[in-house]
């Protein structure tokens, strides 16, 4: 844990440099012939959507790790990941909404991906709420880990059920052959890849930063409790 915290400062600087590079690439990328300049929202929207899901994956791994090893580090990481994931989910929904108004003609549609992302955001909020809502530290940690794992089981079901239910969103732009519909290629791809890398590092940086804060707060609470018993 301590080594991770020391590493975090360098991670922060690296993220900042990469962000500068990615933004430069983004603003030099050509505009889309159909979407014009609003295509640039994609460079925020897609990476944050990927990160919203990826952070949940990490959260699930930390939860399993906690239940398995009863490690406090794992619990701190669970607590630290949830708000970061929620932020990415919120950015995804907000940027998608801003893009959706001129492109689809509506801020919001009850489409499969939008609905899943909204459910993911609420789930993150639930995880944050339960982590803060239980005073007993061990019970709180266990409840949060079990909830996160059940959420991980539920998310694919939610996703497939809403996919059957309704679909308007275009299929993913990554890793597809041109014959299957519009795919992202050529000069639009490098900025997206750079931005994805930046967001990945940003996510790791924010989680570690939050983990450090959480650990500090817990140490403080522990000391405070000790002081009270001595007085």
């Amino acid at each position: 844990m301590k080594r991770l915290i020391a590493m975090n400062r360098w991670l922060g600087w690296l993220t900042l440099i990469l962000l500068a590079v990615s933004l430069w690439l983004v603003f030099n990328a050509p505009i889309d012939y159909q979407q014009g300049n609003s295509v640039r929202i994609l460079y925020i929207h897609v990476p944050s959507a990927k990160m919203a899901l990826f952070v949940y994956l990490a959260l699930t791994v930390f939860s399993i790790w906690y239940l398995w090893k009863k490690s406090e580090t794992a619990d701190i990481l669970v607590e630290a990941s949830a708000p970061v994931g929620a932020a990415f989910a919120l950015v995804t929904l907000a940027s998608g909404s801003i893009w959706g108004k001129p492109m689809w003609g509506t801020w919001w549609a009850w489409d499969a991906r939008l609905t899943s992302m909204l459910v993911l955001l609420i789930l993150y909020m639930g995880i944050i709420a339960i982590r803060n809502g239980i005073d007993d530290p061990v019970k709180g940690a266990r409840a949060t880990a079990v909830l996160a794992i059940f959420g991980a089981v539920d998310l694919p079901i939610i996703h497939f059920s809403v996919v059957w239910w309704r679909t308007l969103h275009q299929p993913p732009s990554f890793g597809k052959t041109a014959s299957a519909g519009p795919a992202i290629t050529g000069p639009l791809l490098p900025p997206l890849l750079w931005m994805s890398l930046t967001f990945f590092l940003l996510g790791a940086y924010l989680i570690l930063l939050k983990a450090r804060e959480t650990q500090g707060r817990r140490t403080l609470e522990h000391l405070e409790a000790q002081r009270r018993t001595h007085v």
Binding site: A129, G133, L147, I157
Partner: protein, 221 residues
């Protein structure tokens, strides 16, 4: 083991009828929800028929939520939860006991809720009642499995009822979608089956097999 599960459930149902009266609150709450819906949407005959699946499922969801808030209440108040955990039973059996007790109460509410809805909204689909009830029962099995788990999860939390609702509603979204779609199909075509029913069954199977395991983690001292 089955007998123990049955006895646990019977204890809850009996205690409820003797003094806790969750059942009667649930029943009148569901009627109140119907009243609210009528006041909010004022559906005419055709609209009412289209709205019935959604109406029944939301009412069942809210009513169940209310019952779930009380699943561990008596144990918590009287410190009996430790006693329950000390019984020589696997944690999964305790879970199924609580689940069954809650399911029976919810089922009794639903048996009264369906005809009440059809009367109050003046919808003539009486021949479908057995299928509607079967669907609601299947849905409630998964719903209460997840619900009892979440109730155990939130029982020591500060604002537990709010937290329970916040956690339950997004997680049951697939169940609700599948239930409403399957019920619409029953009302329109008179047949029970198809992919939506399968999704409902998958949800039930997943939660009934995983929730006891999760419960074991939650209550471990």
């Amino acid at each position: 083991m089955l007998k123990a599960i049955y006895r646990l459930a019977w204890k809850d149902v009996l205690a409820d009828f003797r003094h806790r009266s969750t059942f009667s609150s649930m029943l009148f709450f569901s009627v109140a929800v119907l009243l609210v819906f009528q006041a909010a949407f004022e559906p005419n005959g055709q609209e009412a028929q289209r709205l019935v699946p959604g109406l029944l499922w939301t009412t069942v969801l809210f009513t169940t939520l209310m019952g779930l808030g009380r699943v561990f209440q008596s144990e918590e108040e009287n410190g009996a939860f430790e006693g329950l955990l000390l019984t020589p039973l696997p944690r999964g059996a305790i879970f199924f006991g609580k689940w069954l007790g809650n399911l029976v109460l919810s089922l009794m509410v639903m048996i009264m809720l369906i005809p009440l809805t059809l009367i109050l909204f003046n919808v003539n689909i009486w021949i479908h009642i057995p299928m509607l009830l079967a669907l609601l029962l299947l849905g409630t099995m998964g719903l209460t499995a997840l619900g009892v788990l979440l109730a155990a999860m939130t029982q020591t939390a500060r604002s537990r009822e709010t937290l329970l609702a916040l956690l339950l509603l997004p997680l049951v979204a697939p169940l609700l979608i599948a239930g409403v779609q399957a019920m619409t199909e029953v009302i329109n075509t008179g047949t029970l089956g198809g992919p939506w029913l399968n999704l409902l069954l998958i949800f039930d199977a997943i939660y009934l097999s995983l929730a006891p395991w999760g419960f074991g983690w939650l209550v471990e001292e």
